[in-house]
Amino acid sequence: MKVTLWGTRGSLAAPGPETIRYGGNTSCVEVRGHGRALLVLDAGTGIQRLGATVRGGGGRIDLLLTHLHMDHIQGLGFFEPLYEPAREIHIWGPPSPTLDLRTRLARYLSPPLFPLRLRDLPCDLMLHNVPPERFEVGGFEVEAELVCHPGSTVGYRISEGNRSLAYLPDHEPALGVRAFPAKPEWTSGFDLAADADLLIHDAQYTTEEYQQRIGWGHSAMRDALAFATLSGARRLVSFHHDPTHDDVMLDRIDAAARAVGDVTFALIAGTEGATFEV
């Protein structure tokens, strides 16, 4: 499969000359399989540019949302395929004990926050709670598991043949653990990331910043490295960069992570536009 990062920023879009290398758009990842099926992971502001590349193509698109925080759905209303009548679009999202996915998404995609309603979209739109068991989409096998992040939030493992991508953009596996990493069976997200060929993981904070933000649902780079080591991932892509971190700061965090050495995986700084063959 081919994986492209369209948005790597966390929490808030941060465009500007100081973030031009890592990118300012919020979470969005394109996954293409050998059958050319298109999976889109999250609908942050990065999805707007992705939509322009598939304009007028017709066919089915599956959009997998990890959760419904604004930085993961803010681009949804600007995804051009939603306005194409020939499109079949399936949106998958985490389950909620109280409200269905349509109701939750409509809180944003309705006035006064947005001029249109979901029902106004001309495409053939279907919404689904992700099932607890593995499911198949466009030749991909997809697993979704609840992970440690405020609110109902899932991570995804997407497999094609014997290759796998794990996507955990908002994840705090170190929450409440006295000595992280803990045992695998007590580690949030472990099954999703175990032996993944490519792991895209939250690395929002420095170690010092994390001490002031415990419980906010994100990871320090240090914990992302520990999680990748524990899970046996082969490549780690740092992701969900803090909006206050400019390119210089992110270079510094990346360099410090590389200086740790003795890791079992390749560390890759998540930059907007980067592509990976998995």
């Binding site: 389950p95 609840l146 929450l175 949030s188």
Partner: protein, 131 residues
Amino acid sequence: MSQKAIELILMRQLASSLAMPIFLVDPLGSLIFYNEPAERLLGRRYDETGEMSMKEWRTLFAPIAEDGSPVPGEALPLSIALHKHRAAHLAFWLKGPDGISKKIGATAFPSRRTGSPPARSRGDLLGGVLT
């Protein structure tokens, strides 16, 4: 061993931060975690005992009723929580491996999977919590 459900992981993390004794069991009643205040109550560290079947922990921790007889398994709050899917409370004596008996009041409730419908389904049961 595969990863435990996120609800149990978060419950363990919460329990690790609280001052009251808390025990977590799986749907079969096997003890999968207890926190430091519970360790002090039982006189055993979790790292020493590890996970235990229901039969093992009932033997080890031996709940005793007010009249001195063993508390029947089906009367234990955790058994009620797991089998009847409701909260339960009971006061009993607990004799830990240190030989000291303590009277405790215990409340148990079932832990269910996120997004579970209100209808009772054993497949949605993640275990029980005793405090």
